[in-house]
Symmetry: C2
């Protein structure tokens, strides 16, 4: 890929083509043929740095190059590791095979997804909540639908996000033009409401001091903090949205990990159908991170200020900008929601729950301050007084474990690391040992990490 070094060269040549430049540089640019007259999209100019996970991948590759013989363990990007249950892969495999037969061949499907799958999603996850199959839009994953929703919303709306939160909400908001510039001092984009969620407010925003926005992105169980909002809290959120005429975009991608009876869907809250969109995914639920399948719910009752139904516009966006999720993945989704599929998926989720329990016990035994990890696969570990990228780098260097620096999730994530319970059991056990050994030595000798007693 063309380097940034070249960019500054090309930049100077393109913007002032008549200026005398060194012939070698001139030659470089000539070889490239010069610039077009296309002005770069100002929204892309505003975007800071790399997207979090590609940056982590880059650091991981660097580390592997430096230590080619170590066993690197990733507790990082939250990638699933366990095989997909056989019932599901068998159905996908059979569907793929049938595509080679006249009877089994299928071309274009409905852009919004196969009707049987839409019905199964409505029944399985929203059976008692009056979600209809026409309100279900099958996607190739929540990340794509977040961007499609931003295209629907356009540049004219204001948004609020939990701080910290999954970075795709803000990044897609910047790209579509809803925000101002990034402010280095605060680490925030202008024109975005960051709702602090930390230990002092039980990781739920203080709505009494939150300004009105058109849209509120809300992820529960939250990525990265691992906190789930209670029914009472979600009642407050829905009331807040109703009072303000806002819409909530509720991300329930980790709902399968909820253990304490907290709502798995925003539609468990009365009145939510008039104010909330829900996005969700088979990725963490069924190990479909590579297979790619998700869904979005837009209730019929959700209306713009002029009374026009938002579902009609999303239907238009989906049919224009998307051509449906892979039909093989959709066959897999349908298998997931069969009784056998659901039972087998339950076992895989329990495996990850056991992982996070092992990690939680290790980190707590070391005296670290750990949040989350009960209703979500993520642990949210506090390193008071430290920069999270520094802690990330130090842990990687010393234990060969990939984590995620909390600051990648917003300014409220500084001083934290997200540690993921997704992983093979032997990796989780090995990682626990390495962390134990490292922290036991580390906190004795260096001041970078505050001592456990300071955190409590």
């Amino acid at each position: 890929m063309v380097s940034l070094k070249f960019f500054s060269l090309a930049s100077s040549l393109c913007s002032s083509p008549s200026k005398t430049v060194k012939s070698s540089l001139d030659f470089e640019l000539k070889k490239l043929g010069g610039c077009t007259k296309l002005t770069r999209n100002v929204n892309l100019e505003k975007l800071k740095n790399s997207y979090l996970f590609p940056e982590i991948s880059r650091r991981e590759l660097e580390h592997v190059a430096k230590y080619p013989n170590v066993r690197l363990i990733s507790l990082g990007t939250g990638d699933t590791t366990e095989p997909i249950p056989k019932k599901i892969t068998t159905d996908m495999s059979n569907f793929a095979h049938a595509l080679s037969t006249v009877e089994g061949y299928r071309g274009y499907g409905l852009e919004q997804g196969d009707e049987a799958l839409r019905k199964a999603i409505a029944n399985t996850f929203y059976g008692h909540l009056h979600v209809k199959s026409n309100e279900v839009f099958v996607s190739d994953g929540a990340q794509s639908d977040i961007s499609r929703l931003q295209v629907l919303l356009g540049s004219g709306v204001t948004i609020a996000v939990q701080d910290p939160t999954f970075p795709a909400y803000i990044d897609s908001s910047v790209i579509i033009g809803q925000t101002g510039y990034f402010h280095e001092a605060t680490k925030k984009y202008q024109n975005v409401v960051y709702m602090p969620c930390g230990p002092t407010n039980s990781f739920f925003p203080d709505l009494a001091v939150t300004p009105r926005t058109d849209v509120i992105f809300f992820c529960s169980p939250n990525n990265p903090t691992g906190y789930v909002a209670s029914k009472k809290q979600l009642h407050q959120l829905v009331d807040f949205a109703k009072t303000n005429g806002s819409i909530i975009i509720f991300d329930s991608a980790y709902a399968a990990f909820i253990e304490d009876g907290s709502p798995r869907s925003i539609y468990e809250i009365p009145g939510a159908r008039e104010v909330a969109i829900e996005i969700s995914s088979f990725s963490k639920f069924a190990g479909f991170t590579g297979v790619r399948l998700g869904w979005t719910i837009i209730p019929d009752e959700l209306l713009y200020s002029n009374g026009f139904p938002i579902i009609n516009d999303f239907h238009r966006i989906v049919t224009t900008s998307f051509n449906g999720a892979s039909n093989i993945a959709q066959a897999g989704g349908l298998a997931c929601l069969s009784s056998v599929g659901l039972k087998e998926i339950g076992s895989v989720i329990n495996y990850y729950k056991e992982n996070r329990k092992i990690l939680m016990e290790t980190l707590v035994s070391l005296g670290l301050t750990v949040y989350g990890g009960v209703n979500a696969p993520y642990l949210w570990v506090h390193f008071k007084g430290s920069k999270s990228w520094d802690v990330f780098a130090e842990i990687l260097e010393n234990t060969h474990i990939i984590t995620v620096p909390g600051s990648g999730f917003g300014p409220g994530g500084e001083e934290y690391l997200r540690i993921s319970g997704f992983g093979r059991r032997d990796d989780i056990v090995e990682a626990s040992k390495r962390l134990q050994s490292f922290f036991t030595t580390r906190t004795k000798h260096f001041p970078l990490f505050s001592s456990p007693s300071n955190n409590n």
Copy 2:
């Protein structure tokens, strides 16, 4: 879905909530909970009617309801019908099966696609054209990437399109905010340059009178006209873009159907790497309309006016707004590009070529004026003096054959129908018979279709 009738009710209630309304209407709105204060995206307000293909599907459903016992034949949406060759489905099937094993399980892949597939695409389609694998972005299909490119470009650019052309270019342009309102009299959006392509200019735009735009969407072989641009014409197009500092977004989705040696890639033209993006797809090439796989090429040399490489921004868009094509589909893509895969795909393409030949012979024998159909799967049939939706409706009513009204591809498509060579052979033969019978009777007795002699 909430009806438009309800919309006008909700609209009046939401915008003037204090006004006295009939209690039954009030009850309806109360039941729905009222409107949010979210203003509808002005770009979506501008979008006219439904997207072409969903509208055709709607009419098809209506027709089936009216004639439940007829054998409906679709020569419409250009959907592939032939089974996918076994080598390819076997590899997908095996990949899906392996996902249930520890060794074969795969989670997140690179958002821009598996490296082996990117290399195979670069080698197979661009081996002699210096396209590097890092310049290949694997997608879930060209339609999704058209929208992702529009998100990259943003609302500040101007575009030109062939007229007629595939509607997704303009519709996605409206959605992202590049256009003005639709003008009913001209059937054109303001702020879009429509480049007429018809019999008088050999279906290639008259560049001498085409105003400069930032972006030129160019589809060759063209959907719907079936015309392919020659090497000489593409030279002119690249020169035109260079002179103007424009970029070309070249859609080569139908390249596999080219028979006469015309370029299958814009990069066959010297200098195109500095001015052109290419989008393409496995959909029509390998029958992947339902499996979903495509790709986009952004050369390193393609630069904004400030010298910044466009590939860097597209990389950022893809990693933020997309999480990669389904890994099962990607395994299928790799199988397509094996020597066995390519050979088997060639047979399927020959089957469709034979189909279009049968249709062409039938229509020409009826004296109809038929364009295209040599280097593309589509025939472009002229019905001088007729409205294309009327011809569509009349053919559907009398022959139970679905076609595509040319006006759905832009004002330059009025008076035309697109007839697709994708179909099962017995359907093609049966459709030919029905068309023969209908047109033989029809042109004798009714003036709606001008007689063949008037067309020539």
